[in-house]
């Protein structure tokens, strides 16, 4: 099943496309920072409950189910091969030879890894399900509009503050090691943060060139057509007496190759059609002066989501900095008397 936009009126649907892009990027960062399995599982459940309200739960599950096996394997690897030096050993998988130790740390991180991967994947799914591809692209595409100086300065300072806080939490030793006195260290870090913020902000508002944005959007639009197309071709082959689900594995591979060819032809034809269709509608008229029907504008829920993401990132970093980033692990170890 391709992940296609589903019409709806949910909170997620109403968020700005750019917010959802930020949500995806932000949650990816969060999934890196937060390592506690219970925190991350709760986060996953919250995200999932928003998702289940936005799109058909059966559809959501169908596409996630495939990944359970893959991510379980990742977890298993983590459990079996993540063995820090002072880890609390539970048992060896091959006891006689003391091979493959299973530790508390490994087990807990393994569980966390499962949800960390799922959070990233789920946020991509939800973004694609609840945002028409055109808006995603518009969100990414360059605008000619000039931004006000005040607005740019405001956003840069705000973003700089977040970066600064993150740096203080994530890399305090590195900042302390700077060859200046304490006040200068802080000033330097702050300036660096604001500079970084300015670069990020300019890059983000600069966006992709419209050609690339449109190529992307057309690509998105083609995905749906391709899945329809392959259904039609499969039907046509069945109707010609071709067994498309043979029991024999080798024949199955052959069936796939027989499907690839017409799909390739169909894609080629479709891309030609699209090229002609957009050229006939003046696509190359003057692309840098292109205008857009939809204006993207952030509303209160968008700012709320951004604040929550920033809060999660800074909070996670703060907990890690205070040495309480993984309370579950600490609790279990204490309970086991380590």
């Amino acid at each position: 099943m391709p992940i296609e936009f589903q019409k709806g009126e949910s909170t997620l649907h109403r968020l700005d496309a750019r917010t959802k892009l930020l949500l995806f990027v932000g949650l990816t960062v969060v999934a890196v920072i937060i390592i506690d399995p219970i925190f991350i599982a709760i986060l996953f459940l919250i995200l999932y409950s928003f998702g289940a309200r936005a799109v058909d739960r059966a559809l959501l599950n169908r596409n996630l189910r495939v990944l359970v096996v893959i991510f379980s394997t990742f977890s298993l690897f983590q459990i079996l091969f993540f063995t820090p030096k002072d880890a609390f050993l539970l048992f060896h998988l091959i006891p006689g030879r003391e091979w493959i130790p299973v530790t508390v740390e490994g087990l807990i991180r393994g569980m966390a890894v499962f949800f960390r991967f799922f959070i990233v994947v789920l946020s991509v799914h939800l973004m694609l399900y609840t945002t028409p591809p055109v808006y995603l692209v518009l969100g990414l595409t360059r605008r000619e509009r000039r931004r006000g100086l005040l607005r740019t300065a405001g956003v840069t300072v705000l973003l700089g503050a977040v970066f600064y806080a993150a740096a203080r939490l994530a890399i305090p030793e590195q900042i302390a090691r700077l060859p200046f006195e304490a006040g200068a260290q802080i000033a330097l870090a702050a300036v660096a943060a604001v500079l970084a913020a300015f670069v990020v902000f300019s890059l983000a508002t600069h966006g992709l060139p419209p050609e690339m944005g449109l190529a992307l959007s057309l690509g998105f639009a083609t995905v749906g057509i391709l899945s329809q197309q392959s259904q039609r071709i499969t039907d046509a082959q069945k109707a010609r007496g071709y067994d498309v689900k043979p029991k024999n594995l080798i024949r199955r591979v052959r069936v796939l190759t027989a499907l690839l060819l017409p799909i390739f032809l169909a894609t080629l034809e479709r891309s030609q059609d699209i090229a002609v269709a957009i050229l006939a509608r003046a696509f190359d008229y003057n692309i840098s002066a292109r205008t857009y029907r939809q204006e993207l504008r952030f509303a209160a829920p968008d700012y709320l989501v951004m604040a929550v993401i920033v809060g999660l990132i800074l909070g996670g970093l703060a907990l890690n900095a205070m040495g309480v980033g993984n309370p579950t692990e600490q609790f279990v170890l204490r309970a086991l008397g380590a």
């Binding site: 936009f5 028409p132 591809p133 055109v134 959007s217 057309l218 639009a221 749906g224 057509i225 197309q229 039609r232 071709i233 039907d235 046509a236 082959q237 069945k238 109707a239 010609r240 007496g241 071709y242 067994d243 498309v244 027989a258 060819l261 017409p262 032809l265 169909a266 034809e269 479709r270 059609d273 699209i274 090229a275 002609v276 269709a277 957009i278 050229l279 006939a280 509608r281 003046a282 696509f283 190359d284 008229y285 003057n286 692309i287 002066a289 292109r290 205008t291 857009y292 029907r293 204006e295």
Partner: protein, 569 residues
Amino acid sequence: MTFDIEFQDVSFQYEGARSPALQHVNLAVRPGEIVLLTGPAGSGKTTLCSCTNGLVPHYHEGTLTGQVLVRGYDTKRARIGGLSSLVGLVFQDPESQLVTASVADEVAFGPENLGVPREEIARRVAEALEATRLAGYDERDPFSLSGGEQQATVIAAIYAMHPEIYVMDEPLANLDPAGRAQVLRLVIEVARRRGKTLFLVEHSLEETLPFVERLLVLDGGRLVRDGPVDQVLAAGDIPGVFTRPPIVRLAEAVRLDPLPLTPQDFYARLQHQYPLGRYTESAKQEPAPPDGPAVIEFQDVHFSYNGQSAALDGVDLQIGQGELVAILGRNGSGKTTLVRHIIGLLQPERGRVTVLGQDASRTPVHELARRVGFCFQNPNHQLVAFNVLDEISFGLNAHGIAAEEIESRIQQSLEFVGLQEYRQAEIFDLGKGQRQRLALASVIALRPDILVIDEPTTGQDPRMAQEIFEILRRLNQAGTTVLLITHNLGLAAEYATRAVVVRAGKIDFDGSFRQLLPDLERLRANSLELPQTTLLASLLAAHGVQPWLTSYEQMARALQALTGAAGAH
């Protein structure tokens, strides 16, 4: 005087092509003119259209000699984008022209490219949707619309760009009769509303001639006729290239003057010129439909795609061996859903479909396919190979036919559809009509007992459509049971032995064409369009003409009898 479109001795040859697509074309279209261009498939009509917005030679490369001027701009030197702001080009297949996810985005796409300010875009979208009767469709997904609505969306998208010239390349070809009438009306209205030039390409002269002022005929890349409609019609047919609508030929046969373009005009003119007698010749007995055992049987079949609205709603139907049955009905009435059950591509939710004694829902498709041939509507959706030989042998291999026999079957089936010369051809080199016949050949090669064919004549010129029906008749005479979905009521009435009309998932009518054709109310309800000949026959019913006459010859005889005795005033 400046012309909107001007061709000065234009020839064009596609890169890699063996012969030129256009040869020494000279043409000048004045602002505000409504021009119809016609000609057989492959005569260069699409190439000519593509010259007007620079797709030729900037996108489709090749050698262009002579000059194409659009509002005085030389297309060789202009960009496609610039020309597209002057020339709105609409193509045949609406689906292939849709590029966004909502109707409003689709309509806004052109104005956005032109850099129209946002408020103005909103105004233009609303105006274009209003003009194309799509108001309220803003947020609909274009791919979920009917063919007629899709084409209307494409026209709206062009309309919103405010072009000076509309060029429409067979905009009706892929639509059902209801969609055709709707889109044709639109096309004419859209051009007239703004007093713009309209350059229309169409095969179906019957429908379009009453709306146009000037008629062009293209053959082998040459413009062979060009003039006011009545003059071009008076100059007669060109065999194999230009066949005037039957109504015009009939009018000529009884010396009506001026030549009428609609049956109503014809009748009025006929009454004016002749004291009409009574036609007394009795019709030949309708040949009895073959009385073979039932090979397909639907028993109270129900089906729905989404579990809610019924696509088939209690269908009972029996098809006997050796019949040639036409399945008729408007788009979305359930025709395709019905025939897909025959080969098990769909299974009934309730009820039973029996094909050649087997339960179609329990027999795997690839096994049913051994005896039931199935041709899809769009040949591109069923081609599975790069070249003609592989295409035909695909099914034969799947059926496990011996290698020696494959050779002879390929030969026979190619001969059957008249594609012998294309034995070694690549699929990409075949036109749509040829692909359709190839698809048919690859099914015929399997020697099915039953052939199911879904709209084999969409987008084909009249001659090719007739050829396909000829092929089907020959197959039928050789013993194959044929089920055919079609919108072409005229050809169906001429060739098929039985009509089945599907309406909202139910069988609305099942019987002979002689019963169906005079039932104007039923035809209208199912948006079935009577061929003009039959329409004329029904107007003449009061004079004893059978209202189900379809063929030109029958009608000519009747008219001779009606007028000949009396002679002209």
